[in-house]
Symmetry: C2
Subunit: 283 residues, 2 copies
Amino acid sequence: MIDTYLLEQLCAVLDCGTLSAASEKLHLTQPSLTRSMQKLEDLLGVELFDRAKNRVHLNENGRLAAECAKHILMEEQDMISRVRALDRSSRTLAVGMISPGPMMELSPLLSSLYPDRTIATELRTEEELVQGLRQGMYQMILLNHRLEDEAFACHSCGTEQLYFVVPHDHRLADQAQCTFSDMNGESLLMADQVGYWDRIVREAMPQSHFLLQNGIGALAEIIRASSLPYFATDLTIRLHGRNPERAYVAISDDAATEHFYCFCKREDEKKYLAWFQALERRF
Amino acid sequence: MIDTYLLEQLCAVLDCGTLSAASEKLHLTQPSLTRSMQKLEDLLGVELFDRAKNRVHLNENGRLAAECAKHILMEEQDMISRVRALDRSSRTLAVGMISPGPMMELSPLLSSLYPDRTIATELRTEEELVQGLRQGMYQMILLNHRLEDEAFACHSCGTEQLYFVVPHDHRLADQAQCTFSDMNGESLLMADQVGYWDRIVREAMPQSHFLLQNGIGALAEIIRASSLPYFATDLTIRLHGRNPERAYVAISDDAATEHFYCFCKREDEKKYLAWFQALERRF
DNA sequence: ATCACTTACGGGTGACGTAAAAATC
DNA sequence: GATTTTTACGTCACCCGTAAGTGAT
């Protein structure tokens, strides 16, 4: 069998053209490379070089061998990557989602079910999520509708209802509910990490300006300092409570209520059985 | 980079199930294997085994790694085979043909043009030859008609005219030529290595029996010992001369004259330029 | 003289074997 | 007891570097 170092050295010779250049690239001395190439020729039982007195060139055999070697080394790198990725994926639970809402509640549940795995969450577009799930980048993804795809298992994981949060002296403050169009044109504060909601509200309220805040902290600060309306959902209300200085007005449009669904590869469904059973009990 | 011996050992462990069994298969001691697998885990930065006190099992990482390793080792074997095959093909000139006639004259020419290559000839059917040329099994093939295939370069390499050879007291002995049907029904001696001619004469003379002889030597012997008619061609006549005890009657049917064509891969055409130029001068 | 390669010789890493211990059956 | 894995230690192979030599530019 051919040792890996011989393949690497052969590739370097192909890339560099001469033994001395290759030896430099490899941080080796020329004599060492010479011996390696001779050994390789011995092992293969084939001449790999056209030898002049002080010049060697890869011949046809040598070029083929070097191409093969390059391919093998790539495969070896690929093996390392794949094994490491598999190991990582067994230690972490990567969940991709289009909207952060449902994970606020579900994340602690996931942690308690899989205490020895670290939960990693990412906010992405649906296309990225589906591709990522297929490629093993995520173990699960959360979307706001079902998929036809046979490759994925799908379980419902709750809904999220959007609210306007307005000062008590706002014209809508007394109403229990309203529509997007009722507020269309008014400026609203909004966090930047809201995933899918961003698109929903921009489409439903094309006349409004949305003052994006970097992170929840900045948003909370400007909420205290201003009287601008902003958004909440039933999930954020359950998690953080209501702001007593504001009124909460539910948005009655269909688009203001998202249904969420959790997907994994169908072959992984049994791995996460406990999780999906917990979802079933809950929703 | 991962040394090849580690991949081999990992594969053996996958195949054998236990370290001790694998060590036996590899003609190694168990401690050595243990260290190798530990080193491999180190290199990958990943655990490959579920370890009990006196038992190890490949885990999911290990199984994936072993599968990859097996694949890489296969590729390495493949590399060795391919390089050796290329080397062989550069030292030999394999010519496949449907009929041995033209090579009787052309083989010495080929040898003199390529003195450092050994000329290997094979008799096969057209389908085998075309496939073999495509796969690199032959550098050239000789067929009895042109091909449409764009992948091949084609050069004419002469004709071969078939004769009946009959005793002087045969009813056709005085004629300069005759047809297949004139002899249809008579038994004839025939060598078994005549390639395409075999089919030609059987189709043209369905009533005749052909007494196949294994090799030219056996045929020559039985020719001397019997008065049965047999076949010759202009090429065999030029090569071996005429048998003075027999009369030679040319066969006038179109099928009794073959036109031969020499093919190589179009990309190899320049390699064999000298050869094709010699053919052009000759025919 | 410089460059490119080869041959010859010595050194150090590391892969292997032997020996022994620990743990399970 | 036998079997399997692991640890400890010594040995030898072999891969590399240094030095020297050859031939070409």
